[in-house]
Symmetry: C2
Subunit: 401 residues, 2 copies
């Protein structure tokens, strides 16, 4: 099967979530992704999010490492040693794309910054992924997903009405940044195909978060509105939130007057299909009344009954599922959203590439690598002889000998 | 200035958030984006999220429409009328990329489905963006961002510990899907440049949400873990959450033992830098104690004092900002994250393209268009004569005459 990125090599100096996820997408699309890891423990994501006991029970690496590192080869390289950096610089010569997420200045200190590499490698596409970008008053400050949920204002609009801040439960800013990297790098690759020239691609958790909040910022800039937390509701329309049922929650969203009418008639025409609730502006004004009346009605049904009733009436409805119900829901599999891949004789599931290409789909071809699993293979592929590899090892290129 | 997508034309049949945001990125990169809108009211996003009074005060369109629709031209076309569909099919002839977010089957009913178009237009890149994908048991059900926050399990891990579900305050699944569209379409465009062949690109709110939750699903599949809401905390490490200060909240994240030590010593070595808290596994086990001790200390400072103190100690720290503080923070502007653009004699700000390209940066060249503002210009560009345009108008191609 042909892939979009057949013949493209990615040199991946990144760790943890966002940037490794982006290079996994390149791997899905056919690129040869070389993951450079520190020799001692490798990407710290290998141990993240599970207890030692859980990790022993499932066998390493961690679930999150598995989620973000298929279709890669791993080389253990000590970038703190000159011998390690020398190898890295040699690997750059065969790379089309380089991705790193070190703090601003780190790659430069190692002689691996863009300005240093671009002259010898004018076709190189070089991606700097940072927390707050490489300039400005916060550029030197470390941050992660939660830090940007706080900084961006997302936490100020997430949580119970009148309550304190709450985080969105997944690392959404991290993973959004992954697709900003993918988008930027693919744009640069298309440009290179037309012009022969590479360039530098930059993005950051800050830009990822600002993209999420863009319409709130625009609203604030134009109207001065500072929206606040509203639990499961928002300021756009009513109903547009979670409602209780006899066995859990459903969300119901009926923004247009036509959809609201269908919703009211499907649920309880007498109680809900009243003149006072018939226009969207009145439903916004009478929000509390609408919600109270709706909740009394929804409590009479199970979540599955409501889902059936409202989806038949062409009203936006969804069940509030837990992680397991969501992961195992047949819909995801029906659209090719799950890769099945056997590893060590056991079947494993992975969430697929987040988009589908009819002629050149993303595929899973190899499981997440062990730390340094392909070190020698990668070095031989780069033209190093066995003797040279031994000499590098003695020089500490691959960590403690 | 040259742009990556100079000479590329995008035919945009999409409405509201995700897909319009994706075509805005194409516009930023230089594409000519033609937005096809219904003649009566156009994209409903034009009125979304503000009261009638607010909209009159700022002048239309709405803040969210402005956030997602720069660098486009608008044509008002009635796709319910055969004359309108005929024009759409003619516009396809000059398009490189087509994006739509109608329900599965709608474009097909209008003679605008991929299977019908691909033979005559083998270079066309055709993107179907839907809620749950185009196959499977839920494919016929309408949904929006909140519905997928519910379905995906995100709401089951967002909210106060022991409390009910809460939504992430922004339409994160929608906007994440935008970059999945951008990624998929750019991959297809690169492939076309190499092979001459277009293809179909598909993604959905469901795939966007699954990408966010991938590591939770992986954890569940491997360990059976069903994570639950933890307020501002998560299960990965301690401290990793919001803490109260004398004038608001900060988030503090110190996952490694080294960073924790720096954090403890910077704040209150006597109270926090104790043997019992020194390893990450012990901090996870003694979570409540660590949080309580930290909170007592953080309350003694203002949020800015804590930010200064902890960032100097190289600890991940961020202030929980409101929307206005975030929008106006100088860091965003320092990294080129804001486009300034004058419209109607007044200065306006827009959140920039979510990634930066050193040689071919995204730019803002035109403000969000009025409904049908370029209808005649677009038709003339497609080769229609004035008489033909009049005839089409009489046939109802542009809505009621």
């Amino acid at each position: 099967m042909s892939h979009v990125l057949d013949g493209i090599r990615v040199l991946d100096f990144s760790r943890v979530f966002a940037a490794p996820d982006s290079t996994q997408v390149f791997g899905d699309l056919g690129a040869d992704v070389i993951k450079i890891e520190t020799p001692d423990r490798g990407d710290s994501c290998r141990y993240l999010g599970v207890t030692r006991e859980e990790l022993e029970a499932i066998g390493p690496p961690s679930p999150s490492f598995r989620a973000f590192n298929r279709n890669k080869r791993s080389i253990a390289l000590d970038l703190g040693a000159e011998a390690g950096r020398r190898v890295a610089r040699r690997l750059v010569a065969d790379a089309d794309i380089l991705v790193n997420n070190f703090r601003p200045g780190t790659m430069e200190r190692w002689g691996l910054g863009y300005d240093e590499l671009k002259e010898a490698h004018p076709r190189l596409i070089y991606c700097d992924f940072t927390a707050y970008g490489s300039e400005g008053p916060l550029s030197h400050i470390g941050a992660n997903d939660l830090a940007l949920q706080a900084h961006s204002g997302l936490m100020s609009i997430t949580g119970e009405e009148g309550g304190g801040p709450v985080r969105a439960g997944a690392a959404i800013i991290d993973l959004h940044a992954s697709l900003a990297i993918v988008s930027g790098v693919l744009a640069a690759l298309y440009h290179r195909e037309k012009t022969g020239r590479g360039q530098r691609v930059e993005t950051s958790l800050l830009q990822s978060s600002a993209h999420f909040l863009s319409y709130f910022y625009q609203d604030y800039w134009l109207t001065g509105n500072l929206h606040e937390r509203m639990g499961t509701a928002n300021h756009l329309s009513v109903p547009n939130q979670a409602f209780p049922t006899s066995d859990g929650y459903v969300v119901i969203i009926a923004p247009s007057d036509e959809m609201w009418k269908r919703c009211a008639q499907a649920l309880d025409a007498e109680k809900l299909d009243v003149e006072r609730f018939s226009t969207s502006s009145e439903r916004l004004r009478l929000r509390k009344e609408v919600i109270a009346a709706m909740s009394q009605v929804t409590m009479r049904f199970t979540k599955h009954e409501l889902h059936e009733k409202l989806s038949a009436a062409r009203v936006n409805v969804s069940i509030v599922q837990d992680i397991g119900e969501a992961a195992d829901h047949p819909q995801l599999r029906a659209i090719g959203g799950v890769f099945d891949f056997e590893t060590g004789g056991a079947p494993h599931r992975y969430i697929a590439t987040p988009f589908r290409l009819s002629e050149t789909p993303g595929t899973m071809r190899s499981p997440p690598p062990g730390l340094g699993e392909q070190t020698d293979e990668i070095l031989r592929g780069a033209g190093y002889s066995a003797a040279e590899i031994d000499a590098l090892r003695a020089d500490g290129a691959f960590g403690e000998t």
